[in-house]
Amino acid sequence: MQKIRKLDFWTLITVIMVAVFGIFLIYPLFSLFSSALRESSSGMFTLDHFVKFMSRSYYMRALLNSLKIGLAVTVLCMLIGVPMAYIMTFYRIRGKKLIEILIVISMLSPPFIGAYSWILLLGRSGAVTKLFAAIGLQSPTIYGMGGIIFVMTLKLYPFMYMYMCGALKKVDGSLLEASSSLGCRPGRQIWRMVIPLVMPTMLAGALMVMMNAMADFGTPQLIGEGVQTMTTLIYKEYIGEVSGNGNFAAALASVMALVTAALFLAQRHYISRKSYTTNGARPVESKELSSGKKAVAYIFIGLLVFLSCVPHLVVVYTSLYKSDSSMYRSSFTLENYKKVFSSLSKPIVNTYIYGVIAIVIIIGLSMMVAYTSMRRRNIFTRIIDTITMFPYILPGAVLGITLLVAFNHGPLTLIGTPYIIILAFVIRRMPYTLRSSSAILYQINPSIEDASISLGCPPIRTFFKITARLMLPGVFSGAILSWVTVINELSASMLLYTGKTATMSVTVYSQILRTNYGSASALSVILTVSTILSLLLFFKLTGSTEVSV
């Protein structure tokens, strides 16, 4: 009786979740692949799209560019992020907290603000370019492959840094002492002890960076200038004025999905063989650096943090000064903000409404998925747990195409409605909340639930009164990350929005294209301020500057 009743409620939830994820995640992915294998006009089975992709160097070059950018950015981010994390964790650095807050903010700020600000500085009519020209020098260009790599590295090294900090903090200090006592010199210790111990995390971080670099749409689109990547190609093929070819775009998206899935699986495979758990670790005590090294460390970190913050400063500056087109003179004005609030208020409202709805759904689903996959383990709940993490590695543009292909006809025609944007938000950003929900549930001892039930509280009521209540802090901290990334979402919304459903990030992007730099800046500042406020709330709530991304 008890067994059956228990099954009833959670089975019902499981069935609903299977249905929801079946319709909104599995079915779209299925449609994507099936669409990629179909003739555009007749709908017959064909491999033509893939043959076309492989046989023309124009298309293959986009894939190569994506891989090239991904690799270069990953290597650079490791070269910056790993030493920085090492210094910040093992040595005493003043202003550590502030530095970390700035790093997190630059990591989670709108993805294209970097590219946009660097255009304003180093672009054709950029401030620095003009300054250099005035004294007869040529400044380095921001356009092209080099620029893309530069901007992305500045945007993505924080991922590497955050991952490494997390891992280094968990390195057991007594292991290092043990190795010293056995005669290992401090210099060699880094290579023999520290690096091997944090290797799995380093690879996980590298994968994050690489996937983000390859999935970025805004940066190559804005400063690529002829350098085509997979994401810009997908966009171009789908929206393309000449020949909007949905099936070919679907094929491109499939290729992209397969490449990222392969990367992900390779990394998983490696980590499963080489994962060390150190428990009950005593963290390494941070030491004082010698003054010479200290200077180098502070210059290195200071320069990086400054470069990370440049885009925000530029955007704030631009938004507050009167500008005609791209030329701006030094006169302070709030004109841009007035203009934004009078004519571009709709995207702001949209962002908040869609975002809030998405977050509510994300919180509800995450708690249920986390609970069922951990406390009611069976084959279905485990599958749900796995597939809900899938969007984590799916590039936004791929997800955009996937939803377009799946919901552009039939009973579930969602194209052009706000629902499809909310759907993209939920699918894409749920993993953050889901992971933190699972993490906190993992820490809640099941016997607390048992205690409540044994005292006469039925299982379902116990879930809401005890379990859900205890999960809330973890769920909220994850939800804030979901929220921050939802309001900054560009690459999927880019494909899904219409005039009426435009969000802030999409509007910033289109304003930049129209060289309305003033309103673009003002909107960006509003978006950035929303982000920063949310993050400050997050820091306050979790009591630390650690963000697990």
Binding site: Q2, R5, N445, S447, I448, D450, A451, S454, L455
Partner: protein, 374 residues
């Protein structure tokens, strides 16, 4: 008020192959403090959780009094449970934790407050009523857990290794607190107590069931479990026993056991033994006296000074001892010992024949005439 628990042919399997409890029948009398004692993984916690209702049965029935409860959901069984890690609700104050079960039972506020106040006084926690658990020590949390389980006047109180997370001193203090409260409340709540600590079991219980691999080895009072173990598992699990190969010698109706060359009169040996029967004899580590000759010879391998006692690891000569992983050990009281032995020294001991236990050759059954409760 208090009730009897009856388990009939209870079976528990985890997945198809592993059977944790093959067939367990047991009667726990009303009002008694009954302990399930056994090594980890023996199925004692599993059985307790089946009594609570967290695990469904794969066979058999459980009754609380006349009422069959193996099909009743946990929250309708009216049990009080105390968990190993206390399981205090971390977001509620002491009073709120204790009040929780009463709220589920829709007890009105005035009565609720009165009961909470009373029980907190009983466990001496009244001054911490408004504290959150994070600010309380392990011992204090365990008191709350106990109060929370008892305040609802459960039919049955279930305790799952409640003291194992406390330090040694607190453990002994809590032991008597638990026993006091259990006996006082509602004229004695039928209590099932799980532990792997034999000393704790001996100290706290009215009766003990020793369990190994899901099978009950012996159900008895603490004293009889210690004095008359039912088989060599119990003999070696409770306290330390040296095991010897022996032979029954019956001369002129006088029952004796021969170990090596040493003949020992074992008065309480049962009637069903035969002359020449091979047996296993168990001797507690301190039930012997040193003699100059005529006893059993052994060699001191090492010594450990423990304050009150001196422990010697020894090796018996001529392979008369049953080989076990734990080896053999002798304990002498430091107060009465005439002198200490050195490593390598040979000594001769004479077992205290009255305190020996004799088992069948396979160690499975006691051959003693264990009489009735004494």
């Amino acid at each position: 008020m208090s009730i009897q628990i009856t388990a009939e042919h209870v079976v528990k399997k985890f997945d198809k192959e592993t059977t944790v409890i093959p067939d367990l029948s047991l009667v726990i009398k009303e009002g008694e403090l009954f302990t399930l004692l056994g090594p980890s993984g023996c199925g004692k916690t599993t059985f307790l959780r089946m009594l609570a209702g967290f695990y469904p049965l794969d066979g058999g029935h459980i009754y609380f009094g006349e009422r069959r409860i193996d099909c009743v959901p946990v929250h309708e069984r009216n049990i009080g449970m105390v968990f190993q890690n206390y399981a205090i609700f971390p977001h509620m104050t002491t009073a709120q934790n204790v009040e929780y079960g009463l709220k589920q039972r829709k007890v009105d506020k005035a009565l609720r407050n009165k009961k909470v106040k009373e029980i907190l006084e009983t466990v001496r926690m009244e001054e911490y009523a408004d504290r959150l658990p994070a600010k309380l020590s392990g011992g204090q949390q365990q008191r709350i857990a106990l109060a929370r389980a008892i305040v609802i006047r459960p039919d049955v109180l279930l305790m799952d290794e409640p003291l194992s997370n406390l330090d040694a001193k607190l453990r002994i203090e809590m032991r008597s607190t638990i026993r006091e409260i259990q006996k006082q409340s509602c004229g004695g709540i039928t209590t099932v107590y799980v532990t792997h600590d034999q000393e704790e079991a001996l100290a706290i219980s009215d009766r003990i069931a020793v369990i190994n691999k899901g099978v009950i080895q012996q159900v008895d009072t603490p004293r009889r479990i210690y004095q008359y173990p039912a088989n060599i598992f119990v003999a070696t699990f409770i306290g330390f026993s040296n095991l010897f190969h022996g032979t029954v010698r019956i001369q002129d109706g006088k029952k004796q056991v021969q170990i090596g060359d040493c003949l020992l009169p074992v008065l309480r040996l049962g009637n069903n033994v035969q002359d020449g029967q091979k047996v296993i004899v168990s001797m507690r580590a301190d039930d012997f006296t040193c003699v100059s000759e005529g006893g059993i010879w052994c060699k001191i391998k090492s010594d450990t000074f423990l304050g009150q006692n001196m422990n010697y690891a020894v090796e018996f000569e001529n392979k008369i001892a049953v080989e076990t992983e734990d080896g053999n050990e002798l304990v002498e009281s430091v107060r009465t010992a005439r002198h200490f032995y050195r490593q390598g020294e040979r000594i001769c001991i004479m077992p205290d024949a009255e305190k020996l236990n004799v088992f069948t050759d396979d160690g499975g059954t006691s051959l003693m005439d264990r009489g009735d409760d004494t």
